[in-house]
Symmetry: C2
Subunit: 188 residues, 2 copies
């Protein structure tokens, strides 16, 4: 197991019924199930196109409680799209981290530990879809085909999905420890 | 993603307060949290020596709801220990599978799907400890040091831990589909 540290630049919540876009909040209490009031909150969720092994709409365990992106990878996406910036809000992300390269490659079972004791467990890569690209397109009307180009630009840069392993309050600018799960010698 | 099939030889429950040893039952209803009445049932559990990043006893997400071993790997353990057999009961396993080689190497995020619709998600390798070895020793009093030798013999053969992703009734002799998660192109 390798350890590293990084910083939480922003905490965000998707609590507006009409959109997946998130908005920044300075702190939040992580509960089992995620962030109360967020559209992905819950110990269970409905199966969608990401879980084709179950009928759509089936109640399944929710591993997509919290989504996390990195400033570095968003910068790479923006560069590839030829635009100034890609904000975490537009991807519906809940956490923006800085200082951890290749967040999207973080292995399943890795931990993200907060100073107050809260812990997230990485449940894998977040699969790109076209919705964030459509949101990005709204902000750059003078650019073409950003919605479809986002899927490719976001490949392996789209961040991760996490479940809350241990509840607790987290704050903007928290320094987090990242414990990287090593498959050849895995953690539980 | 690769697919394969295997058979559930036995379903077992640890419902006796004085021991982790399991006993066979012909069928069971898998719920979110595992098998009701089993000592590992629950959406949350207490952190133990397997989660050294949290204070012991802290309430955390339970990824060890169901433990699974394979007939083939138990056979290898028995052979290495020089004994006739190692029963899943002695390891406190909940499911005994047959026909899937190298169960212990099954990747995190892989699915085990039952005919009735229930689904498990693999949460990683089960780490060997000495308790099952002590149980094995009781059954082979004429053999020496089985408790400590079990740890080595069980290395990478000790099976996996799972969480219930979708509830449902499962039966002895069910044929299960195994969807193997591929880290280079992971599923959600």
């Amino acid at each position: 197991m390798k350890k590293t540290v990084a910083n939480i630049q922003s905490i965000l919540i998707a609590d507006l019924p009409e959109t997946f876009v998130t908005r920044r909040i300075p702190e939040v209490s992580l509960e089992f199930g995620g962030i109360r009031g967020d559209r992905h909150f819950g110990l269970t969720s409905k199966a969608d196109s990401r879980q084709p092994m179950y009928p759509r709409g089936t109640e399944i365990l929710n591993r997509r409680q919290i989504t996390m992106v990195s400033e570095e990878e968003l910068g790479q996406i923006a560069k590839e799209l030829g635009i100034e910036q890609v904000l975490p809000e537009w991807l519906g992300a809940n956490l923006l981290v800085k200082g951890f390269m290749e967040l999207t490659k973080l292995t399943l079972g890795s931990r993200i530990l907060f100073p107050n004791g809260a812990g997230l467990i990485c449940m894998g890569e977040n699969m790109p879809c076209t919705l964030p690209g459509e949101e990005i397109q709204k902000h750059y009307a003078d650019h073409e085909k950003l919605a479809t180009r986002f899927v490719k630009a976001g490949y392996k840069r789209r961040g991760i999905v996490c479940a809350v392993e241990r509840p607790g309050i987290i704050h903007e600018l928290d320094e987090v420890q990242i414990l990287i799960n090593d498959y050849t010698n895995p953690m539980q």
